[in-house]
Symmetry: C2
Subunit: 339 residues, 2 copies
């Protein structure tokens, strides 16, 4: 597969391309499909719906990789935390206390997630042989912030305060998420995914004093545990907003590739990472949504910057729901050498 060749650092005939959240609300067929489940988690846990949502963007755009349709918050849900997705507001969770953390157990999580693995099997069976299937999970810090704060956020002051004031409970929480995530990723591989991505979407908010404990070490253990079982499955890390620690993240965790958000200068990233690390991403999703000419110019600049180096074309963050489909078509044509 072109996608796996690029992740292996091989030079490829063209740059592979997929888009974060490519299965999602910018597609009318996704919006129609979504009405068939009463809530977002049911949608994720109904294999036929998750399979169809995953395949929709592949049929339209022939991306080089499909990504399992799911959510990083299936892990807290599988651990027994009450998780809801509220329209126009995002996820709402029952915030965990130190006592509640003691009661969390990853033991039953896998059976709760059985429909996800059924979806993976169905997707892999339906996908063309040349299309890679990406499985994924949230990294422990990012999942922990949702569990502590009870919702999304950005500076995660409550999580930082929890870590400072209740260090044992915080360590326990990270450990439970880590254990559940390892089982979850290995089960995704057993069901047929070819690649994994670890989303540390809130790496930006981790204070320096916690970076080792909350980012580098748990991610390194997850990568090592997965590699021990499946040495040939490449792992892409996405430590969004990791800043000056980008190279340290890659060296400390052992990920095979690293996804760059739109704030990163790709030349600087290449300089600090060295030529052997595959990079991914970097195009501003706002450009693709609102300024197609600027998006195509920026895409060409990324392709030129990454020329001769392994790079997977992608956005710096998920595709925006308002993105016109024609903009995606133009982008894919550009990547395939047609524009």
């Amino acid at each position: 597969m072109l996608f796996l060749d690029s992740l292996a650092g091989k030079s490829t005939a063209r740059m592979p391309v997929w888009l974060m959240r490519q299965a999602g609300r910018y597609l009318p067929e996704y919006r129609a499909l979504r009405t068939k489940a009463k809530n977002f988690l049911s949608f994720c846990y109904t294999p036929d719906l998750a399979i169809e949502a995953t395949l929709q963007p592949i049929r339209r755009f022939w991306f080089d990789a499909a990504i399992l349709f799911s959510d990083i918050l299936v892990i807290p849900d599988a651990l027994g935390v009450n998780v809801r997705f509220v329209e126009n507001e995002g996820p709402v969770l029952e915030p965990v206390s130190a006592d509640a953390i003691k009661g969390l157990s990853p033991a039953r999580a896998l059976s709760h997630l059985a429909p996800v693995f059924a979806a993976v099997r169905g997707i892999r069976a339906a996908l063309p042989g040349e299309t890679a299937l990406i499985g994924f999970a949230g990294a422990p810090w990012t999942v922990a912030t949702y569990m502590i704060e009870g919702r999304g956020g950005t500076d995660h002051e409550k999580s930082r305060a929890f870590a400072a004031a209740q260090p044992e409970a915080f360590a326990q929480l990270l450990a439970v998420i880590e254990a559940a995530t390892i089982d979850y990723l290995i089960a995704q591989i057993d069901a047929g995914v070819n690649v994994l991505q670890l989303f540390d979407s809130w790496a930006s908010s981790v204070p320096q004093a916690l970076r080792r404990q909350a980012v580098f070490e748990p991610t390194a253990r997850i990568v090592a545990a997965v590699k021990a079982k499946a040495p040939n499955i490449p792992i892409i890390g996405f430590p969004r907003g990791i800043g000056l620690d980008l190279a340290r993240y890659v060296a400390a965790t052992g990920v095979d590739a690293v996804s760059l958000d739109q704030s990163v200068d790709i030349f600087t990233a290449r300089k600090v990472l060295g030529a052997h690390v595959t990079t991914q991403g970097n195009l501003d999703p706002v450009l693709l949504a609102d300024a197609p000419e600027a998006a195509m110019a920026s895409a060409r600049a990324i392709m030129a910057a990454a020329s001769g180096m392994p790079h997977i074309f992608n956005l710096g963050h998920g595709i925006l729901p308002r993105t016109p489909i024609e903009h995606v078509e133009r982008l894919v044509a550009l990547l395939r050498g047609g524009a």
Copy 2:
């Protein structure tokens, strides 16, 4: 002054210290004073109140620098934009359209800001000779995000979309803010400030394609214009979340010093910056609020990391309103060699 010596790169007997938002809600005397004005902007524009708020933390803790009590949003207010501060919600502004931007004029801004300069004169007259007075402004991108979004935020998608879809209006907006900011900072110097800090609190959200236009170039022009009038006034930049671009920011803008938030590894920062740039900040405000032992340990680690290099002790972000005063007392004692 110890503070200016450190900014000049001289070795000093001890590390100077101040705290962002040191004049603020964690102080009972501030909360009492605040009731004397009907709203937050009136408070900022009443010289006696702004003077007293600025001096309160100096009397308590003998910080090495006072910072003018004001807000970065006095610039949009002075440009004629409707700015309100809503309790427990933060600032609310009338979002600017491309047409409204054409109507903005920095010409009358300075006279609107006369009470700020009166406050500066009063503060400088009242401060001990060894205490530096810091003036400040928001950097253009950060101020522009509030004017475009109408409120705070973090990913500033609306601002990025505005820049992509209406590049001329966006450039005009940055130019108006830049011009008003230059006038404002020079007038602060004329009134008696000894140091300036430029808060680019949302540098994190600037996509790579806009960094030159929205961060490096306007900041460089502001620094150059201020230095042309007042070559001896040091300027501290605070490009919060600038990530891999930290060294580029310092090189491109000409600031004398750079403030580091709590996510930055100070050793890595020193490595990329070189030894001649004064650094500031880095202590997680959450530790000072919630975990005093961890805060003191972290403060000692920062002091050790910066030993032999010019560093101004500070937090990575503003002091939190819930911070106990005794924690600040312990921190100051530590910095003064008493603990």
